[in-house]
Homo-oligomer: 152 residues x 2
Amino acid sequence: MGTEHSQAPLAERLRTRGLRLTAQRQRVLDVVDALEHATPEAIGAKLRADAGPGGTAPDPSTVYRTLELLERLGLVWHTHLGKGAPVYHAAEHPHVHVVCASCGEIASADPQLLAGAAERLAADLGFTVDVGHVALSGTCRACRERAGTEHA
Amino acid sequence: MGTEHSQAPLAERLRTRGLRLTAQRQRVLDVVDALEHATPEAIGAKLRADAGPGGTAPDPSTVYRTLELLERLGLVWHTHLGKGAPVYHAAEHPHVHVVCASCGEIASADPQLLAGAAERLAADLGFTVDVGHVALSGTCRACRERAGTEHA
DNA sequence: CTCGTTGCAAAGGATTTGCACAAGT
DNA sequence: ACTTGTGCAAATCCTTTGCAACGAG
């Protein structure tokens, strides 16, 4: 398991645009799919790990270029959570990101969570919210309790 | 106009921590207050503009350090909207940020908008949402209509 | 065979950090 | 005076770009 690609929307979408299906593109997509929330750097690391000692992993620049391409193809989405760390995730599993400002822990929530707010925004501002890109930040239970315990 | 500081929670909070009130800190805070949504760079620019030709503006590194400090003091908040562009805004005017992925337009919405979602997150995950840090991305009405018009 | 892709290396831009000097209390 | 804050410059980090060789169709 791991090398299976549901169908192959990738090949299809590439063909349509006259682009080419390469091992790198397939691998990057697989990794984004495997790692739920991955930064470009993390993706590169995983790629390197999967390749093994003597193996060969895609160059960082290729990872960036591929991620951008996959996003244009609508196969992955990215969100900016903390400082300078964009996080990519497969477009197949839509979910809202929730990040703890203290520990950086990332949780996922049901998109339905924002349904109400989305509707209101659409009605009030004519603004269509992109659920897959949303990131909510705050404090997780663990950190809140810790803060209370450690005093300050 | 412009040099007025509601009261001076800044001086007070600094004193409490044994820190010092400097012209730079006051100026940075004033600018964040003036510019609704400002990136560190924009803040530096405004500072430079306000200083005038012969004037002297705070160094970029000071702006960064000050912003971080002001945030610790709870006087400003920042959010990550687009690529690598953190945006700061005064903590006095809590609002949810809504950004158009196409044109970059930034709109503000009432924090109440997320009240429901916040409650659910608190109940389900024990996660406290920080409304001032939230950024929703999507497409504004203008861009959506334009997309429909220009065809594709 | 032709044109999109990749890897490598250098370029860039945004932030951070170390330090000696200036400034607030 | 004593200690914190600032400016300057160098160091980092993350990402983007130019180009020649490579590989998919």
